[in-house]
Amino acid sequence: MNFIYLDHNATTPLLPETEKFVVSNLSTFGNPSSIHWAGRKSKALIREARSHLSQFLKVSPLEIIFNSGASESNNTIIKTTFLHSAKKHFMCSMVEHPSVIKTMQYIQGLGAKVDFIPVSRDGVIDLEFYKNHLTKDTALVSVMLANNETGNIFPIQKMARMAHEVGALFHTDAVQALGKHAINLNELGVDYASFSGHKFYAMKGSGILFSKKGVPQISLMHGGAQERHRRGGTENLLGIASFGEVARIALSHGPGFIEKKSSEIKVLRDHMEKRILSEISEVSVMAAGSSRLTNTSSLILKDVDGETLLMNLDIKGYAVSTGAACSSGNPEPSPVLLSMGLTRAEAQTSLRLSLGWENTFQQVNQFVDDLKISVQKIRDIANSPYKFDMRREHDAAL
């Protein structure tokens, strides 16, 4: 079977060069904190990775804290700010990743006041709501740079400035934007940002908490002196090294590399969407008119159960997603799409396609050809009754 991967917002494959680099370093085993030859070799890998990533992100090496990934970064910033700030008001958007939403709900249970900023059906964030709820008591605002399901890009620069005007700290979960959208953390003006290597063609289990010089820096993980006491625990050496290696490769292509990749993928994505919209009936693209990542396409397909479509396509070799991957196995429709005002029934018909650096026109065309057949097949039987119809039961109960 021909396997085609169209789920880069869930995770990315290792770049072939990165894979080679990791394999060649498999025997590097020393503890980076050790003074001897074995430790030095490991420490060098981490130092090089930090150097490449700081250049890539255009920040100081000291502003990079390596950890396990964006979920840890998000937890760290929200929980430590809650524990240490005298101010108890927090804000985030309604479409954040669960590692932000659930952490906000957690501190809410401990006494924080949290406001969740709504978005429109196009995924545009309600800046009026945001402005009206920011106060001198706001400790932290956390808004993602780009949404994982729809690709919506939020006006972080503007929102960070507004937060700073009232003396609040600003955090952005930038995990989805890395590698897909040119990021300039200085221009954005955020205090903190979260990244994961595995969404950037590196290995799973390593991430970055960007923490701007001068802002409060408190560890969630107490232990050794790693990351200048900001994150205890022996480093995920090869994870970090692979992350740095991808940054090195990106830098080696010269300035504007991400912009170039991003526009190449946009051509592919737009071609795919154009074909889908013209060749499949009753389909719409979420946030089509808004600013969004160039690789993401969030479809709503009338009368097609998203999970069933995913399985059908999987059997044919295509990896796609319905809403957030974290919700698989859970019958609840995507909270992001519900927050955007879709009904439960509509949200259950969603399909998310997210392209990556290695996808080709030929792959996308083959996918659309098969998608048409799959959608038709499922629609053909969508209205044939079950012997025990939950919809009928549900309607009767109402």
């Binding site: 159960d305 069933t308 399985m311 059908n312 059997i315 196995g329 097949k377 499922i378 012997k387 025990f388």
Partner: protein
């Protein structure tokens, strides 16, 4: 045996492949038990393009992880099904069917007990989930067949069309639970282990190195687990509803009051233990009267009867009025000849030999020789 179908599935697969220029694709229902694991593995051996699925039917999030071990639907079983699928290198999905299972299986199960009956939830699970929900899934996933690990066989019936026949393993035969299957669906069904005996199924799984080879058989009802019926019902139904079902125990035919009981859900016809009576003779439950919640007990001889009323019949093959068929009135019982007479609401079964403990809520299932013909629900 008459048929190439069971005898040489590999040839069937080859013929299909030549005709359609692709392998036949089959969706196999995998519970994580030994039988459905063997079924999936046999299909892979035979050359099918196999897709595995487990229906998650009950919420285990509050369960102790060891609680459901060994029954057919604990979360450990889902993990086992997944590891077998991984071992076979086939796609595998967990289908969330909790809401449908609750409404189509659990709720009727509870209602039957409150109505003084002894329900048979596995039939509803087959009717509404395995052979309806999964049939739809089979079509949606563009599969040609649906396979399960049932001890049953599909072979040509007397009219040459595919029909359901009993398993080679008389002891394990599960056709009793299959009488509600739609006749149109039968040609789409594969029962890969239906021609095998249980010990051979285990040997096969061991040879294949499947993790489920040594798992103990699931017995009883999956969602009840080790809890027991009484406790399960008490965990699901409000105490005041159960209390309203308490009453007296009377002896038949005298009508003497023998004692009190705390709810009719504790009783089933033919039950001789746990009656809470201090009586020197062996007494059995003869009848549960839901008008006043009286439980009638008496000597064993009163348990026997010739005639059985059956409602909501489902037929897989036509039955002539008055035809004598083999009939089972409970699982793991041999068939007994009965004249099947049509009535307004179903059938009256006139058994040639008296039957013990005819139990409302159970099924009466009809066979012509080894072929499953249909069945219905026993009523008073």
């Amino acid at each position: 045996m008459m048929l190439p179908f069971k005898q040489n599935p590999t040839n069937e697969v080859q013929a299909f492949t030549e005709l359609h220029k692709r392998k036949p694709r089959v969706l196999v229902a995998m519970s994580g038990g030994v039988d459905s694991s063997a079924a999936a593995s046999l299909l892979v051996d035979q050359g099918y393009d196999v897709v595995g699925a487990t229906m998650q039917v009950w919420d285990y999030s509050n369960c102790d992880v060891t609680e459901g071990n060994g029954t057919c639907c604990s979360s450990i079983d889902v993990d086992d099904a997944r590891s077998v699928a991984d071992h076979l290198n086939i796609p595998f999905y967990v289908l969330n069917c909790e809401a449908k299972f609750k409404h189509a299986v659990i709720e009727p199960f509870l209602k039957a007990y409150l109505d003084g009956q002894t329900p048979l939830p596995c039939v509803n699970c087959n009717t509404y989930l395995k052979f309806d929900h999964l049939i739809r899934k089979m079509n949606e996933l563009e599969c040609d067949y649906l396979a399960t690990g049932h001890y049953a066989q599909v072979m040509p019936g007397h009219d040459g069309r595919p029909a359901i026949f009993t398993s080679t393993d008389d002891w394990k035969d599960q056709t009793y639970f299959l009488f509600t299957i739609d006749p149109e669906v039968v040609p789409k069904l594969l029962f890969p282990i239906g021609h095998m005996k249980k010990p051979d199924v285990r040997v096969y799984c061991e040879e294949k190195g499947l993790v489920t080879a040594k798992k103990k058989d699931s017995t009883g009802i999956c969602f009840v687990g080790n809890m027991g019926y009484d406790k399960f019902i008490e965990s699901q139904v409000a105490p005041e509803i159960l209390k309203a079902k308490s009453g007296v125990i009377r002896r038949f035919p005298s009508g003497d009051v023998m004692g009190n009981h705390t709810g009719i859900h504790h009783f089933t016809i033919g039950q001789g233990k746990g009656l809470g009576l201090t009586h020197h003779e062996k007494l059995f439950v003869l009848k549960v009267d839901i008008k006043d919640n009286t439980v009638w007990v008496g000597d064993e001889e009163y348990l026997y009867s010739h005639d059985v009323q059956v409602i909501d019949p489902q037929l897989l093959s036509s039955v002539a009025d008055g035809e004598v068929l083999g009939v089972k009135i409970r699982y793991q019982q041999k068939t007994s000849p009965a004249k099947v007479v049509k009535t307004e609401t179903g059938f009256k079964l006139e058994f040639l030999e008296k039957q013990r403990a005819v139990t409302p809520g159970q099924a009466a299932v009809f066979y012509r020789e080894k072929q499953l013909v249909g069945g219905g629900w026993i009523t008073l």
